[in-house]
Amino acid sequence: MSLLREIRFTLNGVERRLSVPITMTALAMLRDVLNMTGTKYGCGEGECGACTILVDGQTVNSCIMFAVDCDGREVKTIEGVAADEQWRPLREALVEHGGVQCGFCTPGMVVQASHVLSKNPHADHHAIKRGLEGNLCRCTGYKKIIDAVAAVAGEQEVVP
């Protein structure tokens, strides 16, 4: 049995306190301990972005983050982003542009897109593409997702 450590952090604005094995990933803590299953397990090695969460306002891959490293920090998951009215246009644009197909990448994509738009509210297609480079989607071919985020950023659709 792995060594346990008690940690305290804020999860989507709510104070949490729990004991986690020190080698556990933040993703396993969210999904398996806290039952917050919006955040997805994709590749398990930081390549696909399905597990993207916000920690202290920065997006990270929760699958390669140590759960103990959440201690004292502010964690926001897709459940928190989804509850935030600020990002309703982003969610609606993804639906409208067909940016959601199987949906598995969507939570990570939404969290990362919200971060890209927070840092650069008028991101153009190139900046959006760069911003989402750490998120893989195997359905849409990305164009619909990028168009959706661009629509929120006030961009017109660009015909390539």
């Binding site: 060594l3 090695e45 997006t59 990270v60 983050m65 490293d69 750490g134």
Partner: protein, 288 residues
């Protein structure tokens, strides 16, 4: 499965050095290399896992005695966005821009990238042409001991460095580049994002009246460690940075590297790409 007996979260470098002195410590910073290596069974953990996140004095970028001090906990995103780096060491912010993905840039640290000592590490190649030194702190006999070591002497093999087990890498120190210094970096991957470099090249030097002086060249992913291309540097030194020289230097670069075949590329392809990228970076530096 896990043999870890203690988890430590030091507040100061001194505490961290004290913990390291106790021996058998695995240091955790961003975790982006450590966690996948642990899950793949490629890293044997020590009895102590020490998370240095709260260690005061490991963060921040500042000018100090004519050098830019980059704290070990500086993230790759910080390198990309920090004004001092963009202004004085643009080759390093350019490499940060080509590093992994936004999520990993937000987590991964400069100190971690250096200590992980991957031959393909993307900050290492530009740091080598910037003549960076690393600062290592230990507490061998009750007193803090600080030593500085040129980065080019730091790497000893894949994942192996000159850091003693009781030392903590606290910062990387980069001399302020001289006036007229120009540098460039290029990496080759199958896609721009999230690819481990097949090869990478950085070149730097002072270009005045079309002539390059103090030429420095470094290569990634062509040997057991990132390394300086001393033959290519000698070929460039003091010469007019014209087409013929660029071509000759690119051939020297191709001939002086000794890459291996692996799953990412063959040795032959790597040598050819070293030729192409060296030519490209030198052409960019000449035109800058």
């Amino acid at each position: 499965m896990s043999a870890i007996e203690r988890y430590e979260l030091p507040d100061t470098v001194e505490q961290a050095a004290e913990i390291l002195r106790g021996g058998d410590v695995t240091v955790l910073a961003g975790g982006t290399d450590l966690m996948p290596q642990m899950q793949a069974g490629r890293v044997a953990f020590g009895k102590v896992l020490m998370n240095v996140r709260r260690c005061a004095g490991l963060a921040g970028i500042a000018v100090e005695a004519g050098r830019i001090r980059i704290g070990a906990l500086t993230t790759i995103t910080d390198l990309l966005e920090h004004d001092l780096i963009r202004r004085h060491l643009p080759v390093l912010s350019d490499a940060a821009d080509k590093f992994a993905s936004g999520q990993i840039r937000n987590m991964g640290t400069v100190g971690g990238n250096i200590c992980n000592a991957s031959p393909a590490g993307d900050t290492l190649v530009p740091l080598l042409v910037l003549d960076a030194e690393v600062e290592l702190v230990s507490k061998p006999d009750g007193h803090l001991a600080i030593r500085q070591l040129p980065l080019r002497d730091f790497f000893s093999g894949p994942g192996r460095t000159a850091r003693r087990p009781d030392e903590l890498l606290t910062a990387v120190l980069v001399p302020m580049p001289p006036p007229g210094f120009r540098a460039g970096f290029a990496k080759l991957g199958i896609r721009p994002a999230l690819d481990i470099s097949i090869v990478s090249v950085a070149v730097g030097g002072v270009v005045a009246d079309g002539t390059i002086a103090g030429a420095r060249v470094a290569f990634g992913a062509v040997g057991p460690r990132p390394l300086r291309g001393t033959g290519t540097e000698a070929a460039l030194e003091g010469q007019p940075l014209a087409q013929a020289l660029i071509e000759a230097a690119a051939c020297t670069a191709r001939d002086e590297v000794t890459p291996i075949d692996d799953l990412r590329a063959t040795a032959w392809y790597r040598r050819e790409m070293i030729h192409s990228l060296t030519k490209k970076v030198l052409t960019d530096v000449a035109a800058a």
